[in-house]
Symmetry: C2
Amino acid sequence: MQLCTRARYGARALVEFALAHPDNTVSLKEVAKTQRISPKYLEQIMRALKASGLVKAVRGMHGGYVLGRPPSKITLGEVFRVLEGSPALVDCVEHTGVCPMEEICPTRDTWVEMTKAIMTVLEGTTLQDLAERKRRKGSPSTLIYHI
Amino acid sequence: MQLCTRARYGARALVEFALAHPDNTVSLKEVAKTQRISPKYLEQIMRALKASGLVKAVRGMHGGYVLGRPPSKITLGEVFRVLEGSPALVDCVEHTGVCPMEEICPTRDTWVEMTKAIMTVLEGTTLQDLAERKRRKGSPSTLIYHI
DNA sequence: GGATAATCCTACTGTTCCGATAGGAATAAT
DNA sequence: ATTATTCCTATCGGAACAGTAGGATTATCC
């Protein structure tokens, strides 16, 4: 049960755009380089993000991407829904009526619980939070030496 | 990000053994039938469970499986670890040193948080809990008509 | 207006993992 | 001896994952 790279890469990329928000566009190439992601693969991910409106694209030279909304208004939950589809850990969690044993299944309740636990974390984390984390961690010297 | 069938089937099967505990053995065939799982596939799952000691096998006619411990002492966390391996949602959560960007990665903290959220649910659920849930749900008539 | 640097788009591909199947060997009760 | 069970190794089809290929379009800069 691993998180697929699609959503993870997407999240990492979006942090870069959050850091540049609202003044600068960042090109796919730059993000691919700093985040060490295959540019062509990231391209697909960005396309999905653009289609959902989470980012806007600026074409042509000196183009790139910009967040479609302030980073404080974008949760990881939304990012995952765009890049991974349903966050349900088992089909029966979301689509009731699929499993004939649904009503009497004692394990389903636990799968629901787990899914909710994950979603709580994802919905509770915004790009703003991640960007701030990165600012703090990214340059530890400012924290360590300025005591 | 779906839960694989291996762990889910295993959990559902183990509930059957929990219900029979401690007096009766249950055969793989019976479980496969009542839980609608491919017998041959369930066989592999049971083998893994046996190797881990979670169940004991009784060979020969009228054989089957029995829980290796009281159901109250077996958590779903343990079941998942046996059947799915590491519960970490991303490799970097468990194996530190794999990712060169580990220290400054703002997303890793969230993957850790999500993994912990899942594990809390899994560790907090025992086979006893599931068995009781099933007893309650399995025969709703006893609850509905005895008001 | 041509070179350049970016996004856009469709398709393809190799690999791995998932879920399941096949066919029999060993064991024990009847 | 028969039967019902667990045990074991190997195999397989398909789907999903992660990434690649190659070019079309758009806008800036000189």
